[in-house]
């Protein structure tokens, strides 16, 4: 193999390797950009969720404290007049429910009975025992406590306030709300769909079926093997991954990657939801439709790759042409000159305008001296 072929092959190889490396970098950059986009959305949703929770805890606490200072309500409860209590609290509950989304207002007796005295959401149901951690904590500390807990209807954010009457705690007031409304707000803020997924072991199938039935919704218990979609802002559950292990979702959240379906591109991320006992019982899935962004990014990536390939070809051509013109054609010229001098043309003129020209002239001079 002559030097020209070796040099050309080397140049092509170097440019080919460089092109492949640049294409890999371009692809990596595309993946990193999508991950960055997902992280931004994930952090945005996490922040929004935390802020909504903090804000609603304040609102629930304020409502609860205000209600526990209502003399008429206090008196009805202290005298255990359930019907009177419902009569007084019913209109207030309706207002709280309609205006502020408060779905739970319960009065729970002190231990050891710890039974529900009044349940505004379902007045006919009472006397069931409460063992929720928020209640237990409030009993233990004598203070207002709050936290999210998995209930029959899903996740509920609750505050428990001791009810004091004539300087004695006569019971505990539970004010709560389903956190479903958070998801609509998160969707508004992040422009992403949201789903609350809970590990089935924290739920009861019959109770869940009953809850769904009361909302005129189909039982979705069997949609996933281990998890249950408690709430979501979208219907297409097929874009949710099947194999989430709720307990293993990292505290800071996780990007699950890009998912293509029906000409749409979705970025999925997830972060855990802890209940009042700080146990991870579920997770919130963020599903962002990034079809437009991903399309633009893919288009840019293709343009970049095409540009890299075209530039490599142009560069390769320029280098080979330069090598041909400046080196190989000059070497051929030198061989021709030496041939002519050896053939007897001792007056053959050589151009000495560069390194090869000077070298050629020196060789020719030596030959001339030898021949003449």
């Amino acid at each position: 193999m002559n030097i020209k072929v070796k040099v050309i092959l080397s140049v092509i190889s170097v440019l080919l390797v460089s092109t492949i490396v640049l294409i890999i970098i371009a692809n990596q950059n595309y993946t990193n950009s999508l991950t960055f986009l997902g992280e931004e959305t994930l952090h945005g949703a996490q922040q929004a969720f935390m802020q909504l929770e903090q804000s609603d805890v304040k609102m629930l606490s304020a409502v609860s404290v205000a209600l526990t200072t209502n003399d008429e309500l206090l008196k009805a409860y202290a005298e255990r007049k359930r019907d009177r209590f419902y009569e007084l609290a019913g209109p207030i509950y309706d207002t709280l429910k309609n205006r502020y989304g408060i779905t739970h207002w319960n009065l729970i007796d002190t231990p050891p009975s710890s039974v529900i005295f009044a349940r505004l959401s379902k007045p006919e149901l009472f006397n069931d025992t409460v063992r929720r951690i928020t209640y237990i904590n409030s009993v233990r500390t004598g203070n207002v406590t709050f936290g999210k807990e998995v209930g029959k209807t899903g996740f509920v954010l609750r505050t428990i306030t001791p009810v004091v009457y004539k300087n004695a705690i006569i019971g505990y007031q539970e004010i709560g709300e389903d956190i479903d409304k958070f998801f609509r707000l998160i969707k508004k803020q992040t422009n992403s769909d949201v789903a609350l997924i809970v590990d089935k072991k924290f739920m009861n199938h019959k109770e869940w079926e009953s809850t769904r039935s009361s909302k005129k919704l189909a039982d979705n218990w069997s949609d996933f093997k281990d998890n249950l979609i408690v709430s979501s802002t979208f219907d297409n559950v097929s874009i949710l991954p099947m194999d989430i292990r709720v307990a293993e979702v990292p505290v800071q959240g996780k990007i699950l990657g890009v998912f293509d379906q029906n000409n749409s591109v979705y970025q999925r991320s997830i972060f855990p939801v802890k209940d009042a006992s700080l146990k991870t019982v579920g997770c919130i899935m963020i599903v962002q439709d990034i079809t437009k962004t991903a399309g633009e990014m893919r288009s840019s990536r293709i343009q970049l790759i095409v540009l890299i390939i075209v530039l490599s070809i142009v560069l390769c051509t320029i280098i080979i042409l330069l090598l041909q013109r400046l080196v190989f054609s000059r070497l051929n010229h030198m061989i021709n000159t030496i041939t002519r001098v050896v053939g007897g043309d001792v007056n053959y003129k050589v151009k000495e305008d560069d390194e090869i020209g000077r070298f050629e002239a020196q060789i020719v001079e030596i030959l001339r001296n030898l021949i003449t």
């Binding site: 061989i335 030496i338 041939t339 002519r340 001098v341 050896v342 053939g343 007897g344 043309d345 030898l370 021949i371």
Partner: protein, 66 residues
């Protein structure tokens, strides 16, 4: 003595017959054989080795058995 010079003359005849570039062809034969053709004079001593090299190179370049 004179065999190499005779060979030079033979080569020059063939070049002339074929109408080739004298300088170029003699240069190529010289480069290939390592013997400068124009150095071959009547008094150049016979050398079978050089003779064979020039013949071989000339035959290849002129495409004729020299």
């Amino acid at each position: 003595m004179g065999q190499l010079f005779d060979l030079r003359q033979k080569i020059e005849r063939i070049i002339k017959q074929k109408g080739l570039d004298d300088i170029d062809i003699k240069g190529k034969i010289g480069m290939k054989s390592g013997v400068v053709i124009c150095f071959l004079k009547p008094e150049t001593p016979d050398d079978p080795n050089r003779m064979a090299r020039v013949k071989k190179a000339a035959s290849e370049i002129l495409n004729t058995i020299v």
